[in-house]
């Protein structure tokens, strides 16, 4: 879980910097497309994994053992 949090923070920082750089500097089109295609989903994914609510420690085991619940 700690590893996941660190990875998400790194991903969020990198994608934010890349997107902001493309907003400020006029790079070649292929660079901007690459940053947009990978950077925007990475930004949303990293932010979501950081902001999502986690189960309480006493419920955590039950949650991962109880598949097919839907939302």
């Amino acid at each position: 879980m700690v590893n996941q949090k660190i990875t998400c923070i790194i991903l969020l920082v990198l994608s934010t910097i890349a997107i902001l750089a493309c907003l400020v500097v006029d790079f070649e089109a292929w660079i901007v497309y690459t940053v947009a295609i990978f950077g925007i989903p990475a930004w949303v994914l990293a932010l979501g994994l950081l902001t999502m609510a986690k189960p309480k420690p006493e419920d955590a085991e039950e949650r991962v053992r109880e598949p097919f619940t839907g939302y």
Partner: protein, 290 residues
């Protein structure tokens, strides 16, 4: 305008407009079935709400794949926004986007470890039949206009008039694809309620919200492409009216039509596709299409 700003604005518009159109679609279906239905903004609120819902990763899943497939789903539809509304590039790339979407449906189901997801994954392979009419529609657009570039197709239509009048059966084939991808479609065999939520069953909480985000963009992109390649150069108001009209029509069709069984769904799609294909070939070779 800065290219990245253009992309970001288009992605946000696609998400907001797609969410509201899907909300409208659900509202129309409810009214046809004599229910009040949820508010039109409900789909948008759902998508955002799920980002903060409690999320756990079940033990049965293949974790990297389970999270990665949601990332790929967003990635391909952002490619769709770039190729369509932003760059007006090739239709073939959009066909590729749609083909990868099928792979996402397949792998999302198989990564979950859920029997519902796996059955949906098998049905995703069957439902690849929808790609044939899409490919045929793109080929006919190429035969008539001589190009696959969306910008050049728009220019062609501004001179010769909308393609809906010259190759209506190809437009019908494309419309079939839109019906197939609309929620509660008679052809939506991968999301049959007998399979809970199909390939999405095990993606709940934030991951479901992320999927809804991508699906809203997908709905907007598909409607945008259909309107652009068959109804010629349109203004923003034209796109808005067209998208609302299509969401209304698909809502009516889906509310009034039961879900078909997988074999009936595939055979119906192939039959309609074949009739439209040979009809368009006949129109081209008999000189009906200039």
């Amino acid at each position: 305008m800065n290219l990245m700003a253009d992309i970001l604005i288009n992605v946000v518009i696609a998400f907001l407009a797609g969410s509201l159109l899907l909300g409208l679609h659900r509202k129309v279906m409810a009214r046809v079935q004599k229910r009040p239905g949820p508010p039109i903004v409900q789909h948008l609120i759902h998508s955002l709400k799920f980002f903060f819902k409690e999320t756990a990763i079940p033990k049965t899943v293949s974790k990297v794949f389970y999270i990665g497939i949601v990332f790929i789903l967003a990635l391909i539809w952002i490619v769709g926004v770039i190729v369509g509304p932003v760059a007006h590039d090739s239709l073939l790339i959009l066909f590729g986007v749609y083909a990868v979407y099928k792979i996402v449906e397949h792998n999302s189901g198989s990564s979950s470890g859920s029997p519902y997801g796996k059955l949906s994954c098998v049905r995703a392979v069957l439902s690849a039949a929808t790609e044939l009419p899409l490919f045929a529609a793109i080929v006919f657009v190429y035969l008539v206009t001589g190009t696959m570039n969306i910008g050049e197709i728009i220019a062609y239509q501004s001179v010769h008039g909308p393609l809906i009048f010259s190759i209506p059966l190809a437009a019908l084939m494309f419309f079939m694809l839109i019906i197939t991808k609309s929620p509660y479609s008679p052809f939506a065999i991968t999301k049959d309620k007998a399979l809970i939520s199909g390939f999405e069953t095990e993606h709940f909480g934030f991951l479901r919200g992320f999927m809804l985000f991508s699906e809203s963009i997908a709905w907007y992109v598909m409607l945008w492409v259909f309107l652009t390649i068959f109804f010629g150069p349109l203004t923003a108001v034209g796109y808005l009216v067209g998208m609302i009209a299509i969401s209304f029509i698909t809502g009516f069709i889906n509310a009034a039509t039961p879900l078909l069984s997988p074999n009936h769904s595939v055979m119906t799609q192939i039959t309609i596709g074949a009739i439209c294909f040979f009809g368009t070939v006949l129109m081209i070779f008999t000189g009906v299409v200039a």
